[in-house]
């Protein structure tokens, strides 16, 4: 399922929203989650899971082709922890 199929499904489930409105909502949800992560905030969605930002320190990497040393800068990566409910539901 991709985003447009998700928008479709949400529209079909709602009695009063049209596709254009649902698209705005779905985009808003994921954009605001992305913005929260960019700020370094934690996100907790009950029954679904939580997103956390994990820092990765800078390291010396190597270009696998040439063997040259390259500096890999420190970065933040998003990390998703599946909620208990969902974890069980997926496994069933």
């Amino acid at each position: 399922m991709n985003k447009s199929e998700l928008i479709e499904a949400v529209t079909n489930k709602s009695s009063y929203l049209n596709r254009r409105e649902t698209k705005i909502i779905v985009d808003l949800i994921f954009n605001s989650m992305a913005a929260a992560l960019a700020e370094g905030s934690k996100i907790e969605i009950r029954g679904f899971g939580s997103f956390k930002v994990k820092p990765r320190s800078a390291r010396i990497g190597r270009n696998p082709k040439t063997g040259d040393k390259v500096e890999v800068p420190a970065k933040n990566i998003p990390f998703f922890k599946v909620g208990k409910d969902l974890k069980m539901l997926v496994d069933h």
Binding site: V10, A38, K42, I77
Partner: protein, 93 residues
């Protein structure tokens, strides 16, 4: 950030009632959940992909007692962040 913060943003943007905003947000997450539950992946462009993976059973050990145990085959959910999300998380800071 919790679901309530997301509901608040939807409410401010759409001007529908709080109750309706809550219902839509709830419905978005429950559809994603149901899809994953059925073993289907969910791809959200610009955010990331939620991927259902099948794991074979394997032998493990209880690290505390050293006892051998069989870890049963299972289905797990993983999240692969999109390039866009990763980039955005490392430019503003």
């Amino acid at each position: 950030m919790t679901k309530a913060d997301i509901v608040q943003q939807v409410y401010e943007k759409l001007g529908t009632s709080k109750k309706e905003s809550g219902q839509v947000v709830e419905s978005v997450f429950s559809i994603v959940k149901e899809t994953l539950e059925n073993g289907e992946n969910v791809k959200v462009s610009g955010f990331g992909n939620f991927i259902v993976r099948n794991k074979n059973s394997r032998k493990g050990r209880n690290p505390q007692t050293g006892e051998k145990i069989e870890i049963s085959a299972r289905r797990v959910l993983t999240f692969k962040p999109s390039q866009v999300l990763k980039r955005n998380m490392n430019t503003s800071t």
